[in-house]
Symmetry: C2
Subunit: 343 residues, 2 copies
């Protein structure tokens, strides 16, 4: 399995990105990684990842693809991509299009990753718009929230396709044999919400996914595990994903203060318990979100990803590439008339 | 101060609603409450609120307005309001329109509360669409999120007005002398998001609120306190508000398990500390959200409101009615050309 990793993408690149690649190849003997980035920065990062020790096992499975440009985290995606034909993001997509790699992973500018993918039109057959699927923790195990930012003004048919793709992802990657699908809305009743929500609701009800469709779910239902797949437009999904991060951060800060302030002899134990929680649910440390609907594998990571997040993301890319998930998506979309509607 | 309280609205009405009214008049000697609801249910609830003891102080400041119908929590708002002219929600709005009360409070069907308000067209001069303002905790003290569900398909001018109204609310109710205003979006850069976000961004930048406008804020910025007022469309706001509730619930459940599982002799102390936190941030127990832009005061409460939430909501209604906030809104909108645009 060969994955191209955008070594220049992320708030702290290339250091933790390269370190994540080193850890990933150590952990998985079948993984090969192409570090896409500026040789002058990536090679020292590789040396540093070893901390002065001789290169660890698996180093021969890391290669370098040199490029000279980087799309900054705050740059306007489309303009930056036009101005920078030798950017690490563009080079990653080119490697994927040329089938030189099985997948690509980046913690860089999300908008530019998505825009470059759209420009390369590397869509699976039948896919109208790719969508980013984020895995969220719930009281009943992980669920998929799709889309979290690829498509901020979708049509009902796009949202329907997100249901199809999210469901296949939940089945193959989260091991849910018959995933339930919910539509993000502001109330449970069918007639709730704006036109996009109502029209999408009708599409699901008229489709072959009817049995899996549990109707509308509200914001508070996500973490209660009301559906294995929660479908929403990319604007809402992006805001929701980041709001979860903010609420978790806020709640844990308050909890540290209140709990540690109340404890005395078991203060250290309490602290360790809270640190375990932060470690388990830290949204910035999870393994990246796949852009579903791409012919290949594309994993988008949080800008603040550390080495562990990158290591996890590479593992997700491998699992995805081995899953046959994309073939399933193509088959399922061909069998769903609603998904093929032009709109 | 005379407030009409929808005694029939809420998941557990009328019991905790009536109990909240009893507590509120006890706490505030200037408050009078009209309980709007079915006499046959409200009177026993009043007796029960005393728990067998003689009526508490202030009972003479609670009166009853009998009505025979209730809009159910799951009913379609507009249809239900048409079918039920004697519903407690309709009666509340009529009392407000007839200036028989200074404000109204309901934990009933939010959609029906808003729809009835829109039908009565009881808008302040210059207001295009009222919006619901929710107060959220942040690391820097409370902020206002507006709109959280009154207007799911707004125009840029509506969002701009939410900025004006939210800012006046933050100034007078949250005591922020010069509140900052942020626009909910999926990235910090001006060109991010859908057309609604971009057009609203331009309106703020071209307006007299330019100095207060801090630009786009992302989901994770809300709880960090990035702006005193966060403006968004009612669909996004509603999903965000309920997502916060879900994440908080989820995080606290996990925290109880992890922390209490780790503690031994100080387990009880840890438990009490966590209970204090739940108590402080429980989204369903906060005092209700004002529908801003109404000529009068309208406070909308969480459907699962208990007596404490209702007591708090009545206090918010009093504070609002005494604040002169509505006059400020009218003045400010008259002075904001962008707000008056037809669109």
């Amino acid at each position: 399995m060969l994955i191209a990793l955008d070594a220049m993408g992320g708030d702290h690149a290339p250091g933790p990105i390269v370190a994540g690649a080193v850890q990933a190849v150590q952990a998985d003997p079948d993984l090969r990684v192409v570090l896409v980035g500026d040789q002058a920065q990536v090679e020292p990062a590789l040396v540093q990842a070893d901390g002065g020790a001789p290169p660890t096992a698996g180093r021969e499975r890391i290669e370098l693809f040199h490029c000279t440009q980087v799309v900054g985290m705050e740059e306007s995606p489309v303009e930056a991509l036009k101005k920078k034909p030798d950017s690490s993001i563009t080079r990653c997509w080119q490697l994927l299009r040329q089938k030189k790699v099985d997948g690509i992973v980046s913690a860089g500018n999300t908008g530019a990753m998505v825009a470059s993918g759209f420009m390369h039109r590397l869509f699976l057959k039948g896919v109208r718009r790719p969508g980013i699927a984020a895995v969220m923790p719930t009281l009943r195990g992980p669920c998929v929230l799709i889309d979290v930012g690829a498509n901020v003004s979708p049509k009902p048919e796009h949202l329907f396709q997100y249901g199809v793709m999210g469901s296949i992802f939940a089945k193959h990657i989260l091991q849910r044999p018959q995933p339930t699908i919910g539509l993000m809305n502001i109330g449970e009743e069918e007639q709730k919400g704006h036109d996009l929500a109502k029209d999408t609701h009708a599409l699901f009800n008229a489709s072959g996914l009817r049995e899996q469709f549990v109707g509308n779910v509200e914001g508070r239902d996500i973490h209660r595990g009301a559906a294995d797949v929660v479908v929403c437009d990319g604007f809402v999904g992006n805001v929701v994903l980041k709001t979860c991060e903010g609420v978790f951060e806020f709640t844990m800060k308050m909890t540290f203060q209140e709990v540690l302030g109340a404890l005395d002899v078991e203060r250290e134990r309490g602290k360790q318990a809270l640190e375990r929680l932060v470690d388990r649910y830290d949204y910035s440390e999870h393994g990246g979100a796949p852009l579903l609907g791409i012919d290949g594998v594309c994993i988008i990571c949080h800008g603040s990803s550390g080495d562990r997040a990158i290591k996890n993301a590479l593992a997700v890319a491998v699992r995805y590439a081995s899953s046959g998930l994309n073939d399933q998506i193509v088959q399922e979309l061909a069998a769903s008339p609603a998904a093929a509607n032009d709109g």
